[in-house]
């Protein structure tokens, strides 16, 4: 599965969400989009659910959240 990465760790809100929303229409089935952020983006989750995307979130030791977004199967 190929994956694009948006490193939004040092971007002020709402830029991280805007970047993801811009990237989502280009995300094909079988691909994933990885978002790196310093917080868990609950407002984004609402939008992903509405647009039928799935995501898996993990938290690293350094405090970085990694949100891997893909089309819902």
């Amino acid at each position: 599965m190929s994956s694009a990465v948006i490193d939004a760790r040092y971007l002020a809100p709402p830029e991280p969400m805007e970047r993801v929303l811009e990237a989502l229409p280009h995300l094909e089935r079988g691909q994933s989009l990885t978002l790196l952020l310093h917080r868990e983006p609950f407002p984004l989750y609402t939008l992903l659910t509405a647009r039928e995307f799935a995501w898996v979130t993990t938290l690293g030791e350094d405090g970085t959240y990694r949100i891997v977004i893909s089309h819902r199967p």
Binding site: Y10, A12, P13, M17, E40, P43, L47, E61
Partner: protein, 420 residues
């Protein structure tokens, strides 16, 4: 693209704003009362005037903002949806406001019935809010440390309020309750268990988000609340079983947690990517400096040294924490989150909403910060020279009045831009 943004979890604007607009009014009252009754407050923290000033700051000012901010913060930051936020705010806001007024009136001699009213209203208001927040937090899918810290903070609020309601009931219904013991526990759970725990949980989100700092690393962000909780447990057991060494462990753990949090936050802020120094950043720095200062002062107060100056040392501790650390962070955050919330709601109704900077320009906010810092210096100075209490109290009131004015202007701007 911003018009496409949707924050469905966020409550209506009126939910947090009613709390934010009420809080500075209690700050004004605290400043004026201190200017009038400074001598009694400086003489003993056990005076009824000192209780009144302290509760204007804690229940009146701090609790209002913290509850309002949590109603906004929980769904967006912790994925914790609160059940019917508007109805909850309609019930909790008047209960906390009238309860705080009744409590302070009771301390100032308005009669036992006001204490009864305060016990019922504050007990009911906090219980309702605490229950709703707890259910939301319990169901939250969040994976980070913020969730656990917020759960602990809400539990701390419930314990502190339970103890406070018992104390107020003791005054109100003339019950024989162990006042000194309950007061010691009430203070610790209110300040460490609720207020500081909440600031820690909120800092984990807002410091990296708004100031573009590195994040709080996972291990220390779990250790900090654990140290505070261990401190509270030792303090509670030590007080209940009358074991002095447990109380000392509580002091050590509480000091370690407080210093660790404040120093770590200052270090992260020094490494921020956004090199702008705005009012929010300045306010956080003052707040963290006050927390650092509070630690040696609290150790002196615990040692009871120097004995002849103990009331003044305890007063200084009160200033650093209740007039310094928490109001600084609260005002700093209000200057950031009020424009943010307003922008968030405006972008739903207009394509080009004013920027956050236009809602409350930083140059305007900086005047409030200057007044606040000046008041803090004078209030601290009053520990050495009592007449400074009058200008210190009045300047604190003026800083709160200016905060209220800035918030009202932000609301006015929102109203002018939104269709009725």
């Amino acid at each position: 693209m911003s018009a496409a943004l949707s924050f469905e979890q966020a409550p209506p604007l009126s939910v947090p704003f009613r709390f934010f607009l009420t809080a500075p009014l209690f700050g004004i009252a605290a400043g004026v009362l201190f200017a009038l009754e400074g001598d009694a407050v400086l003489e003993s923290r056990w005076s009824l005037q000192a209780f009144a000033v302290v509760h204007l700051l804690t229940v009146g000012f701090m609790l209002q903002v913290m509850v309002g901010a949590l109603l906004q913060f929980l769904p967006v930051a912790a994925g914790a949806n609160v059940w019917r936020p508007r109805l909850l705010a309609n019930l909790v806001h008047p209960a906390l406001t009238l309860g705080a007024v009744a409590l302070v009136a009771g301390f100032l001699g308005a009669g036992a019935w006001t204490m009864q009213v305060a016990a019922v209203l504050l007990g009911a208001g906090v219980l309702l809010f605490g229950a709703a927040a707890s259910v939301g937090l319990w169901r939250s899918p969040a994976i980070g440390p913020t969730l656990r810290v917020l759960q602990l903070a809400v539990a701390g609020l419930l314990v502190a309020t339970g103890l406070g309601v018992t104390l107020a009931s003791g005054f109100g219904w003339r019950l024989a309750v162990p006042f000194v013991l309950l007061q010691q526990l009430h203070l610790a759970w209110g300040l460490l268990g609720w207020a500081l725990m909440l600031v820690v949980g909120v800092a984990y989100l807002v410091v990296p988000m708004f100031q573009l700092t590195p994040p709080y690393a996972l291990r220390p962000s779990r250790a900090l609340p654990a140290a505070l909780l261990a401190s509270l447990s030792c303090w509670t057991l030590g007080a209940l079983a009358d074991v002095a060494w447990l109380a000392w462990w509580a002091t050590v753990l509480g000091a370690a947690g407080t210093v660790g949090f404040a120093a770590y936050t200052l270090r992260l802020q020094a490494r921020r990517k956004r090199k702008v120094t705005d009012t929010t950043l300045r306010a956080w720095r003052v707040g963290m400096a006050c927390l650092l200062l509070a630690v040696p002062v609290s150790v002196l107060a615990r040692l009871g040294w120097p004995a002849s100056l103990l009331p003044r040392v305890e007063y200084l501790l009160g200033v650093t924490v209740l007039a310094g650390a928490f109001p600084a962070v609260i005002a700093g955050m209000l200057y950031k989150i009020v424009p943010f919330i307003e922008w968030m709601h405006l972008q739903r109704v207009m394509t080009l909403p004013p920027t956050m900077q236009k809602v409350i320009p930083d140059a305007r906010a900086r005047w409030q910060w200057r007044l606040f810092v000046a008041s803090l210096v004078l209030l601290a100075g009053a520990a050495a020279w009592a007449p400074l209490a009058v200008p210190g109290g009045l300047l604190f009131a003026a800083a709160c009045a200016l905060l209220e004015w800035h918030l009202l202007r932000a609301v006015q701007l929102y109203r002018s831009l939104t269709p009725r």
